[in-house]
Amino acid sequence: MSVPPVGQFRLFLRLRVRQMRNTGRALLDQSAVRLVAILAASLTVWLFVYVVSHSGFSWIKGYPQYVPAFGGIIGLLFDFMFVALGMMLVFSTALILYSSLFTSSEAWFLLATPARDDQIFSYKALGALGFSSWGFLLLGSPVLLAYGVVYGVSWAFFALLPFFFVGFILLPGCLGALACLLVVNFVPKRGKQLALAAGLLVVVGSAAWVYRAAAAARVQPESREVVNQFLGRLDVSQGILVPTHWMTRGLQTAGQGYLLGGPRGTSGALYYLALVWSNGLAFYLLTTWLARRLYRRGFNRLATGGTLRRRYGGARLDRALSALLGFLDPQTRLLILKDFRTFRRDPAQWAQVLIFTGLLALYFGNIRRLFLSDIDYAYQNSISLLNVMTTGLLLCIYTGRFIYPMLSLEGRKFWILGLLPLERERLLWGKFAFSATGGLLISVALVLLSDLMLGMPWLAVALHVLTVMVLAVGLSGLSVGLGACMPTFKETDPSKIAAGFGGTLNLVVGLFFLIVVVGLMSVPWHGHAAMTGGYEVVGAGAMSGLGVTSLVGVGAGAAATWLPLKAGAEALRRMEF
């Protein structure tokens, strides 16, 4: 009485639908506030991206003479966006699939049932795709809709947009899944190193590509020949066989209303849509076919590839951190080292930080090449402010995703820490110091890189550095403090803790704090520069005004650090386990 594959597919689909329905009901019944907070936060991000994109497209449309490679800029932007989002999908799908296929208890459970290996793989892969494509939807859809609205494109663009989106998700998602399967099967002991090497390769490759593109973009756009040469240099993203380019061409032709065929015998939007879907589905079939042969084999290899008891020793990184924290008392230092070890031994955690930081560093390192020669200082002024905001956003994600769950994760082992001869609040200070140290290192380095590349004056650099320092410290205090006030000791998955009510509230408060601090500490200088048309701070009043707003910002940072930590320490003292 075995269930045929089609039946199993339906069975897993029903399982997924039931889980989603029950989750939705539980959310509505138990914490409607949480649901509203999640939706509000998503809508805020979506609207923010939409407004920025709308302004950008309006500017491009209004001032084509300032835009490098004028006619091709929209296609170029789309190519960039789809390549970046596609890369994000490849990595996030591979990482999510690795843990859900090979280390989750659900995988152990399902593999002991008569479920077929390819069906389990397919169920997990589609789940991972759905999960990782949220970012794609949240960031990609407002950009494309803004383009459609600004350029007044054909209805076909809006009608086909969802189909292009869903079709495109398949290809990079399957590529990530395939990479995950192959790595586990053929290099199970070197997976971590290979993932790191692949990440570095992508960063270096992207840097080289951006450098070439930027070098071409700086040419004078008047000459048609030069423009063609520029577009030709972007061959990596614009090749006829590159799926991201099918998306760009498909959406552009849909925008022009060419469904079946374009002018001069070119292909219409439906042709590109068919290309995206047929290749995506073919790749999906290939991946599931391989999974039927490789999934259980890989599972076995990963489970038994190493030694029974892997020996972990002291690492140089630990010793370096310990030396760096020499000024702290030994107990706090030990607590920080414990958290650092836990963090660095979980590649799913640090890989995300590494990828985001790497992408930002890549962007900051190349921004000057892309824009400075063509765009005046006013644009440079706003870009540097935007980069501070982006770095702050990275800090928000870092503290919300990794720092907020840390105290909840101590729940099941609190009998160890709770019985140690140390004050409970020292746990908080340890986590705060760990978070603030990491946040400071990342954010200060990124902002310095951005400002130096943009050639910003020293006062702006100082203000930006001070802003991100306040953000790193304040967001650490918020996340650690709120994490202690609203712990979720039953949950062992940090991503679920971060996505819970407390985690969502922490993210929303963190975003609000980010806006306040940047608004007080960086925006006044940029506003003054925009109004006076130069970087010189004119007048003693303006200078003292900047000083006052910066001091208020530092005060807000101190309050955001001290108050949540104090409340968290109080909650921790009264807590029973």
Binding site: T23, P114, G306
Partner: protein, 246 residues
């Protein structure tokens, strides 16, 4: 019903199971004992097809677990020491998922579902989300799911941990009845009293090697003792330790 033929399993350069041969007949209740890290769970995972033997073969119901894993797993149920439940499903939805996965017809599944719900006294909570279940409730639900499709082989890892005395009694009665009805039960446990009370044969594994296998009386003979299973177990594993250290 379960055949392990000269099975060896290595993890890198460590050997977890060494040249293990074992044959279990239909309806046999077999207890598998051993100190921590002896290779019990690895053996169980190989029987269930979760891990493959490095050398040797494992067959369940005549099917090679590696080559015909789907058919072998159709015959067996596995209850791990830390069972998995979908947190966002109710107990009833989970049981229905298992019934569908094993291809039970709708009327038969409904009848069996009602039977196991009653047998394991799940009525009070079977329609709640499993995320609210206590350990005992989870364990009973998992056992109900394992028996839903009338498996011919039941593999159980540490079933009594965390259960109250009444639930332990219930579980022991059910395992005994299953065995009498022809189901082969492979029971891995540290509870020597449970093994002594239920098992027809007992296997003792240490450092990956089967150091004793037979009825309690034959093990007593081997250990040259007339005491309880606990004394026999301690003697045999004590003798094994220095030998394996050589």
């Amino acid at each position: 019903m379960i055949e392990l033929d000269r099975v060896t399993k290595t993890y890198g350069n460590k050997t977890a199971v060494r040249d293990l041969s074992l044959r279990l007949e239909p309806g046999e209740l077999f207890a598998f004992l051993g100190p921590n890290g002896a290779g019990k769970t690895t053996t169980i995972k190989m029987i269930c097809g979760l891990l493959f033997p490095t050398t040797g073969s494992v067959r369940v119901g005549g099917f090679d677990v590696r080559r015909e894993g789907g058919k072998a797993r159709q015959l067996l149920s596995y209850v791990p020491d830390q069972p998995y439940l979908y947190e966002k499903l109710t107990g009833r939805e989970f049981l229905q998922f298992i019934a569908d996965m094993y291809g039970l017809s709708a009327p038969y599944a409904a009848a069996r579902l009602a039977e196991v719900v009653e047998l394991f006294r799940l009525e009070d909570f079977v329609d709640d989300l499993t995320e609210r279940y206590s350990h005992g409730m989870r364990q009973r639900t998992v056992f109900a799911a394992a028996l839903l499709h009338d498996p011919r082989v039941l593999v159980v890892d540490e079933p009594t941990v965390g259960l109250d005395p009444r639930s332990v009694r219930l579980l022991k009665d059910i395992l005994r009845r299953l065995s009498e009805a022809g189901t082969t039960v492979f029971l891995s446990t540290h509870s020597l009293d449970v093994a002594q009370e239920l098992a027809q044969r007992i296997g003792i594994v240490d450092h990956g090697r089967l150091i004793g296998c037979g009825t309690l009386d034959s093990l007593r003979l081997q250990a040259d003792l007339s005491g309880s299973l606990e004394e026999v177990f301690l003697r045999l594993t004590e003798e094994e330790a220095p030998a394996s250290a050589l």
